[in-house]
């Protein structure tokens, strides 16, 4: 992962509305959630939601999929994992240290 991509992803997540959206989508899994459902759940105007979804999409953290009139948004697990790998890269200069397991290998996304 390149630093500018990581920064874009981190900046996209560093916002209450967007972080909440992302976590909802992570929990929703592959199938995703339509935009309108997110707006209702979050209680924000469509214009505001659309702005934030665009930010997340641009950062490749979410994927949009049109299905009839609805647009389903889902988490991009590949980007999420690449980001976490980037943050922990070469941790402790190779010293053996404890490991934590996190979810969703890119094989599943």
């Amino acid at each position: 992962m390149e630093i500018n991509i990581a920064i874009k992803a981190l900046a996209a997540l560093a916002h209450e509305t967007r972080l909440t959206i992302f976590r909802m989508l992570v929990q929703a899994g592959e199938s995703g959630v339509p935009a309108g459902h997110l707006a209702k759940e979050l209680g924000i105007p469509n214009a505001t939601l659309s702005f934030h979804l665009k930010e997340l999409t641009h950062a490749e953290l979410v994927i949009a999929r049109q299905e009839s009139r609805f647009i389903y948004y889902s988490a991009n697990f590949a980007t999420m994992n690449a980001l976490m790998g980037y943050l922990t890269e070469n941790c402790c200069a190779g010293t053996p240290c404890g490991m934590v397991e996190v979810c969703c290998d890119e094989k599943n996304s």
Copy 2:
């Protein structure tokens, strides 16, 4: 982890200089690196570095430790792991999915 803490951490990392600093400290491990060494390595004025280190410290992503005239900064692995756990929490609604291992359990920090 609370959302506001996660946002503060993500915002702190969403900046080229700060992300670079953080990754240097992750790789340096427990012992850390003195501020002046970071400024030289990054080629930025002390004032600018200090501003960014303050942001990282405030977000509890780094820990400062005074040792004679030097201030050693090191990564806060506990916060890093809490953040990653927060992002992946209840991923895929409990559906079994691949796992990736990332570094540095809080037991070691």
